[in-house]
């Protein structure tokens, strides 16, 4: 991962110096271990603040919608797919964005790592595939592959699908015969167990809306949950309102979600809200053979109609 950071900084410095872009959106080192902070670099000499490692789990496409002027973005595989979705959904023009593609080797699940320790983590370092994490009590070396984020585990689009330049040569994509084992697991449960699974999932949700606000797909001026006239969802912590919010938020991502995991990365309680969207991703793949954000020219399935769309559910 660290070999390409030098390349990224050179590219950004070059872009800024030539004035080709107004600003570069990337990640800067965080003030606490295992954290990185999205940053906008406007001046050449600031490019050294840019970093890229396995803790850059947020989706920078979220900062690209409604941008005026030309900007550059450092984009992982999933980020680039969300930029494609932005373009397809007229949030940004293709020529408005210079994409620095970074073939990704997966981001780490910070909650899973933190669970190994009783006290706070004070050190986090990584070098090609092994992580060394330490707190005041102990130090552990871990295989990154065992601590990948849920979405990176099943990711088949590590290489950016749309880019102006690549920070390093593309890696080899993983081939999976079953892309959705986690969804099958839930589908195997009986009706009441399914409901119980989702009730336990969102039990500690504090409705801070970090999952919605971290998602590049959520750019509505007034979200359905903020609407008061009519009011679709209660504002309180009643579990029906909480589940209604999560159900409807997920439903708005049907056929658009690239499973980048920014929602889970942003959640302060570490709730895997992807359990909602993953089912929709599986269905859109099964019914329409569609994966979001792969091709700027193709319209999403729920945006088009053709006669052989499956409609057996209509009686």
């Amino acid at each position: 991962m660290d070999t390409c950071i030098k390349k990224i900084r050179e590219l950004c410095a070059d872009l800024l110096e030539k004035g080709e872009v107004k600003k570069v959106i990337g990640f800067a080192k965080g003030t606490i271990p295992m954290a990185t902070c999205p940053i906008a670099i406007q001046k050449k000499q600031d490019v050294d603040k840019l970093v890229f490692n396995s803790t850059c789990g947020l989706n920078l496409a979220n900062y690209a919608s409604k941008e005026k002027g030309k900007i550059a973005i450092i984009a992982k595989g999933c980020d680039s797919r969300n930029i494609v979705t932005h373009i397809v959904e007229n949030q940004i023009e293709r020529d408005q964005i210079y994409i620095i593609g970074v073939p990704c080797s997966g981001m780490v699940d910070k909650f899973k790592i933190a669970e190994l320790f009783e006290d706070e983590i004070i050190e986090f370092a990584e070098s090609d595939g092994t992580l060394t994490v330490s707190s005041t009590l102990k130090t552990q070396t871990l295989k990154k592959q065992d601590y990948l984020k849920g979405n990176c585990l099943y990711c088949t689009h590590k290489n950016p699908v749309l880019y102006d330049v690549l920070a390093k040569d593309p890696g080899e994509e993983q081939k999976l015969d079953n892309l959705f084992p986690d969804v099958d697991q839930i589908e195997a449960l009986d009706v009441d167990a399914k409901w119980q699974h989702f009730e336990d999932l969102t039990k500690n949700c504090i409705r801070c809306y970090a999952c919605r606000n971290a998602c590049p797909l959520c750019y509505c001026p007034t979200c359905f949950v903020d609407e008061s006239n009519p009011q679709w969802v209660g504002k309180g912590q009643d579990k029906t309102d909480v589940n209604t919010f999560h159900f409807l938020r997920a439903f708005h991502c049907a056929g658009r979600c690239t499973d980048c995991g920014a929602c889970v990365e942003a959640c302060p309680m570490g709730i895997n809200v992807r359990d909602f969207t993953r089912k929709l991703n599986k269905d859109t793949l099964e019914f329409f053979g569609w994966e979001a954000g792969l091709d700027v020219t193709k319209r999403p399935p729920l945006d088009t109609y053709n006669p052989d769309d499956p409609d057996d559910f209509i009686k």
Partner: protein, 53 residues
């Protein structure tokens, strides 16, 4: 929509989709009767229902 509801634990028989034109009055009656029976068979729904204690 139906799949996600089912995924969350709402029995498939509780949610029905039908395509009835305003001219097809009889079909409307039949569909309503059939769905009511199917839903009544499942008993009162406890999920997605706010409890106002």
């Amino acid at each position: 929509m139906g799949n996600l509801l089912e995924h969350m634990g709402i029995e498939r028989d509780r949610v029905h989709f039908s395509w009835i034109s305003s001219a097809e009055a009889t079909k409307f009656v039949d569909v309503v009767k059939e769905i009511s029976d199917r839903v009544r068979a499942l008993g009162p729904n406890k999920k997605f229902v706010k409890d106002y204690n």
